[in-house]
């Protein structure tokens, strides 16, 4: 459950809730006795025992084979196979050591893989639940025009938090339903910036859809980061 600060067509704004609408099939696995089985993450190998480390300690790749025959330097019997609980993601340098201070860069590449830009990495800040509300862009797109122009990969349902925001959201849903349209939702003064819901998270274009049924409403924020169109060059990949 998250929040979003949005405006209506009159420029009034409110902080309301967003709810994920993802529905995944819950699958449980039962063992031969019909009892619940579980999964566990195990340690299979460490960097200290990988081929680069063995090569360095043996004094060359040609000597690694003999060291494998003489003993089991690639296996840490005390540790391999133990269950891993909490782990931390870290950076490792070419020497196989943990690095505490790194400089991060983003390399922007064209569809053909050529480098377009290189810049210091900037972590994007969320912009959907700030003090500045997302504006009513007024940029409507008929549903029949939008459904086959964009790939809507994610959705959030927007819900009220009290009686006042119920009226506020119901009004927006009714307005959009009457227009049979999706409204572009974006951040920034011109509503043309992508929506970012979490710090460092993915950015999306937002399309707001409203449906009503009696005194109930359904306000859906469709999220897209891809247009439904064929790549200009035949560079698309086949099913992997």
């Amino acid at each position: 459950m998250g929040t979003i600060n949005i405006s209506n067509s009159k420029g009034r704004d409110a902080v309301v809730n967003t709810r994920s609408v993802r529905s995944a099939l819950k699958v449980r696995w039962l063992d031969g006795d019909g009892r619940q089985a579980s999964t566990v993450r195990l340690l299979k190998a460490t960097l200290a025992r990988d081929i680069e480390s063995l090569q360095e300690s043996a004094g060359g790749l040609d000597k690694v084979a003999q060291s494998l025959l003489d003993g089991d330097p690639e296996v840490d019997i005390e540790n391999f196979g133990r269950a891993l609980r909490e782990t931390t993601r870290v950076f490792i340098n070419p020497d196989g050591l943990m690095v505490h201070k790194v400089k991060q860069f983003e390399i922007v590449r064209n569809p053909d893989g050529s480098e377009r830009e290189r810049r210091p990495r900037k972590v994007a800040q969320q912009n959907t639940a700030t003090e500045t509300p997302l504006k009513w862009s007024g940029r409507m797109m008929k549903k029949s025009d939008a459904y086959n122009k964009f790939v809507f990969s994610n959705k959030l349902q927007i819900q009220h938090v009290n009686g006042l925001t119920y009226d506020f959201l119901f009004g927006i849903a009714k307005d959009l339903e009457e227009k049979d349209s999706l409204m572009l939702v974006g951040a920034g003064p011109k509503s043309n910036q992508p929506l970012i819901f979490n710090r460092g998270g993915s950015s999306y274009r937002g399309f707001l859809e409203g449906r009503t049924k009696g005194d109930q409403y359904c306000l859906i924020l469709h999220l897209s980061n891809l247009e439904l169109k064929a790549p200009s060059a035949a560079s698309a990949r086949e099913e992997d």
Binding site: W29, K44, V90, I92, I107, R121, P194, K229
Partner: protein, 204 residues
């Protein structure tokens, strides 16, 4: 060449070639590079909770344990749903022609989250009648599973605004109508000029 997805439409079998469409094909992509103090490229790994064991990207494995904690192979386990009902495996969509009998409305299509998209092509004119139907705005829907598995995805065959035919694969969502009583707990205005700026997907 990858195996085509075969559809059955108007009594004819239509093998359509699939070509995955990804963001990187349209807009390019961004790579992140981390350099240490000497300017050497770093990789990412995991540090175990003991604070000293470094694990590379392929250094872990997932194991299945029976209720008593003993090792068990996945093939010895049987899948059930949340209510304990046994789940039957579905065959791969490539195993037999897919009949295009069902259609979806725009609202039904919009109620799904789309995970992947393929451009569909067919050699020759055999798919003329199917294309004619798609040009009317028809969205065909059918269950889809690439390898076969426990639950098929929802798939839609539709014509894109650029005139190409696409297969959109996704899953249904839990969208529901809410009334005043279904309240959810939790908590400036500046008129925009609404200028018709282009929707730029490349910038995100």
């Amino acid at each position: 060449m990858a195996k085509p997805l075969v559809f059955s439409f108007n009594g004819a079998e239509l093998p359509l070639a699939m070509c995955k469409v990804e963001r990187s094909d349209l807009y390019g992509f961004v790579e992140t590079e981390a350099l240490d103090e000497k300017g050497r490229k770093c990789s990412t790994g995991s540090l175990a909770s003991d604070g000293q064991t470094l694990i590379g990207s392929r250094g872990t494995a997932i194991a299945n344990l029976a209720h008593d904690g003993t090792w068990v192979e996945k093939s010895q386990l049987s899948p059930v749903d949340g209510d304990g009902k046994k789940l039957a495996a579905v065959p791969s969509s490539f195993a037999a022609p897919i009949p295009l009998n069902d259609t979806a409305t725009i609202d039904e299509y919009l109620s799904h989250s789309i995970r992947s998209v393929y451009q569909m092509t067919c050699e020759g004119d055999a798919w003329g009648p199917l294309q004619a139907e798609l040009k009317k705005g028809t969205i065909f829907s059918f269950p889809y599973s690439f390898r076969g598995g426990l639950q098929p995805d929802a798939a839609f065959l539709l014509l894109g605004a650029d005139g190409n035919t696409f297969l959109a694969i996704g899953s249904p969502t839990k969208i529901e109508f809410v009334g005043l009583q279904q309240q959810v707990t939790a908590e400036e205005e500046d008129a925009g000029d609404g200028e018709g700026d282009e929707i730029d997907f490349g910038m995100i």
